[in-house]
């Protein structure tokens, strides 16, 4: 779905079938699951869009989200007296940067590697997760990560427990009726 490429007709049919099967199986196996608008879009409208345009990833919002990171990283380079002035410098620079787009700055694209060509095959390959080594982080960062992790687990647990509890309560009320 997020692949920025044209999808073949067979792939589109397969995607539609899998998406609907996934949602139906989810709803039947876990009756307390509420089909959210995102799940509903995945189930019905994403296959429609894929059938019509041939791709979803090419039209996706990935580029907009990427601009957030770029702005966060480079906003300091375009500082001005006011925040709006800094934004204006940023937009001016990016307007000039369009001169270096692929259309203006054509380069020979490298042929992508074959499927599975860059997959780690040996046990000692550094691309494997166990050979990469962990990121170097200080003690405070690690403690902060642990706190965030516990907070996340607690929130998810409470939310999930509430959903299950509500479902069981409704189910019991229905049985009583």
């Amino acid at each position: 779905m997020n692949r920025a490429a044209e999808v073949h007709a067979s792939g589109a049919r397969e995607f539609r079938a899998n998406a609907q099967l996934f949602a139906r199986h989810l709803k039947r196996s876990f009756p307390w699951v509420n089909i959210s608008p995102k799940l509903y879009i995945l189930m019905y409208h994403a296959p429609d869009f894929l059938d019509l345009f041939g791709s979803i990833g090419l039209y996706g919002e990935q580029s907009i989200e990427a601009w957030h990171g770029f702005f966060t990283q480079n906003a300091a380079k375009y500082a001005a007296e006011t925040e709006v002035g800094a934004c204006a410098n940023f937009v001016r620079a990016l307007a000039v940067a369009r001169e270096a787009s692929d259309a203006n700055f054509s380069t020979d694209a490298r042929t992508p590697a074959a499927e599975g060509e860059r997959t780690a095959k040996k046990t000692g390959d550094w691309r494997r997760r166990e050979n990469k080594g962990g990121p170097v982080e200080c003690e405070s960062t690690r403690e902060k990560a642990i706190q965030d992790e516990r907070k996340w687990a607690q929130n998810v647990f409470e939310e999930g427990g509430r959903a299950v509890e509500v479902f069981l309560t409704r189910l019991a009320a229905r049985v009583d009726r």
Partner: protein, 629 residues
């Protein structure tokens, strides 16, 4: 050999002569006094003389002297001397005869040379084919011609850019020898280092003109193999001047956030002028020229900074795509998933026609696909407006998109977005209505709305994902309820997953009607009329052209599945086990997967660590332990 005055016999005769003062005894004892001519002859006889000939040789007195006339012992020595002189005379006579014969030959050859006319015609040098033929016949291969042949070959092969040598064999096969570049290794072993040192030393000797080996040994002169290597590389791979215009170089500088000071340092460091890079004054001039273009003008409004002409920017990108041959046709598909050919050009509709029809042109009309997205995010928080052209290879690349504007704001509600997008609404409407000209042909603009679900709802005046009709693309209700039972019956609900397709898709006509209301939809209207559209839509595009937010769906469903696993444990094993399992899942995510939930957006997994780790294959990840209890 005549000894003259130093002869032993002569001395003895001289002593005898001095002893007998008178000349009375010269008949018996002592050598007869030789005349001046005889003495000179005897002295001259051993020396060859060109004037000496047999014809003018006079018989000397010695030849007429008879040794039998001598009677005493003293005269015997004189006789022996006479014999010796006679043999010497014979040798001289033979030598004279040979010399006379040689002189005669020389005179004959001289006369012959003078009388014979030399041939004035110098044989012409052999032609190249004749030379080649002789070379092939091995007629020139000998020790004498070997160095000359090597010199000829070196003259052909050694210049800087020789022609391609071609060798044609008798069977018709032609071999072409092409010069190949051989890069020098930066790090070599000892043997190769010595070879390079010797080569450098030889070059130095050739350049200086004297044997500088001693100077090198003494350390006065340094021969660096690095210099030799650099010279060779420079000769083999001479960098070519770049063909980038100053505007393109400026675009690269801006795209990568390099300051002019940094670029100046790079320019000096790598010898940028030799590579054709522009100087800073040229770049500043180009920047001023670009800033004057309508497509690149920026206006500062109260809401933020915006491009003045979105249409100009789109047209500029399309022109560049078409000129570089990078324009990619995007065809829609029919119900059988077969691409529909675009055969008709776009015609600008009349003013009376609605703009929504232009936003979704017929499928057979040639068009371009333009995405327009709005999203809030980043630090500091700001709302970004980005347009994209899908008719290219990499539409998501940041340099290939059009950054329309950025508004520093922590709010992205309807009022804020309407003020931000208000600068561009007319531009978008004009772009959609008039289309663009690509390759001399007018094409329609198919506007496709993108962004997160909240922004999409806001742009369309929708109440959001918690509204009764939560979907932007259809009219189905969110969940069955007693108050909206009639709507549930008509349009269906999202929870009805058995339906093959949504019963009623949202139409653009409804959006247009909502947008046409001057004061916006009244709140007291029925839900059946409003259909969760609370405010006038800012854009009234076809709902089928709303992107189904693939990235946000991935984030949301990933988190939902993790929560579902915890819910499953809670429902099956109880809350204590579910709580422990939730903490174990969180720890596994941190330690093994190395993905950290964001402290906002409900704890979704976003960030660089999630990008890198979640793309790996699932089989590489260990599973969390089975919940106990």
């Amino acid at each position: 050999m005549p000894l003259g005055r130093f002869d032993r016999c002569y001395c003895r005769a001289s002593r005898a002569k001095r002893a007998s003062s008178d000349a009375t005894s010269h008949l018996g004892c002592g050598a007869p006094p030789a005349s001046a001519a005889q003495r000179s002859d005897s002295q001259k006889s051993p020396e060859p003389d060109d004037q000496w000939t047999a014809a003018n040789a006079r018989p000397s007195a010695v030849e007429n002297f008879n040794t039998s006339d001598l009677g005493c012992g003293a005269c015997l020595s004189a006789q022996a001397r006479i014999e010796q002189l006679r043999s010497s005379l014979g040798g001289a006579t033979r030598w004279a005869l040979r010399a006379q014969r040689a002189a005669g030959d020389l005179r004959i050859r001289l006369l012959t040379a003078l009388t014979t006319t030399p041939s004035r015609s110098i044989p012409p040098p052999p032609s190249c084919p004749e030379f080649l033929e002789a070379l092939r016949r091995c007629a020139l291969r000998n020790d004498q011609n070997g160095p000359a042949l090597q010199a000829i070959a070196a003259t052909i092969l050694l210049p800087g850019s020789p022609p391609e040598p071609r060798l044609k064999w008798d069977n018709g096969v032609e071999c072409v020898y092409v010069r190949q570049r051989a890069t020098t290794k930066p790090v070599v072993g000892r043997s190769q280092r010595y070879k390079r040192l010797a080569s450098g030393l030889k070059s130095l000797i050739r350049a200086v003109g004297a044997d500088s080996r001693d100077a090198v040994r003494a350390g006065a002169v340094t021969v660096s193999t690095a210099d030799v290597r650099r010279l060779r590389i420079r000769q083999l791979s001479e960098p070519s001047a770049t063909s980038l215009s100053p505007e393109q170089q400026l675009g690269l500088i801006a795209a990568y956030g390099i300051s002019f000071t940094g670029f100046k340092g790079i320019l000096r460091g790598i010898g940028g002028f030799r590579l054709g890079l522009s100087s800073l004054p040229v770049l500043r001039t180009a920047r001023q020229r670009l800033a004057g273009l309508p497509a690149k003008k920026v206006a500062v409004m109260g809401s933020g900074a915006h491009l003045v002409s979105l249409k100009g920017a789109v047209q500029e990108n399309l022109d560049a795509l078409w000129a570089s041959g990078s324009f990619v046709e995007k065809l829609l598909r029919d119900s059988h998933l077969v691409p529909i050919a675009q055969t008709h050009s776009y015609e600008v509709p009349s003013i009376d026609a609605g703009s929504i029809a232009a936003a979704s042109p017929p499928q057979t009309v040639k068009d371009i696909h333009v995405t327009l997205g709005v999203d809030k995010g980043g630090t500091p928080a700001s709302v970004k407006i980005v347009a994209g052209l899908v008719n290219q290879r990499r539409p998501h690349r940041l340099r290939n998109t059009i950054f329309v504007g950025v508004c520093p704001s922590h709010r992205d509600d309807y009022d804020a977005l309407s003020s931000m997008l208000g600068e561009h609404l007319d531009q978008v409407a004009q772009l959609v209505r008039e289309g663009v000209v690509v390759g001399g042909e007018r094409r329609a603009v198919r506007l496709i709305m993108s962004g997160d679900y909240e922004a999409l709802c806001t742009v369309h005046g929708h109440k959001g994902q918690n509204a009764t009709m939560a979907c932007l693309m259809c009219y189905c209700t969110r969940s069955p309820s007693r108050t909206q039972a009639a709507l549930d019956g008509i349009y269906g609900t999202m929870q009805d997953v058995d339906a093959p397709a949504p019963a009623h898709a949202r139409t653009s006509a409804h959006l247009v009607s909502m947008a046409a209301r001057a004061g916006g939809p009244a709140n007291d209207q029925l839900q059946a009329a409003l259909r969760s559209i609370a405010r006038p839509p800012l854009f009234s595009v076809d709902p089928r052209q709303i992107v189904p937010i693939p990235w946000h769906i991935l984030l949301g469903i990933t988190l939902r599945l993790l929560r579902l696993a915890i819910e499953l444990v809670i429902s099956c094993r109880g809350r204590p086990v579910g709580s422990a399992f939730a903490f174990e899942v969180a720890e596994t995510l941190r330690r093994v997967v190395r993905g950290r939930p964001a402290p906002y957006h409900g704890g979704v997994f976003i960030g660089r660590d999630c990008h890198a780790n979640f793309s790996t294959k699932r089989r590489d990840l260990p599973r969390p332990s089975q919940p106990r209890g």
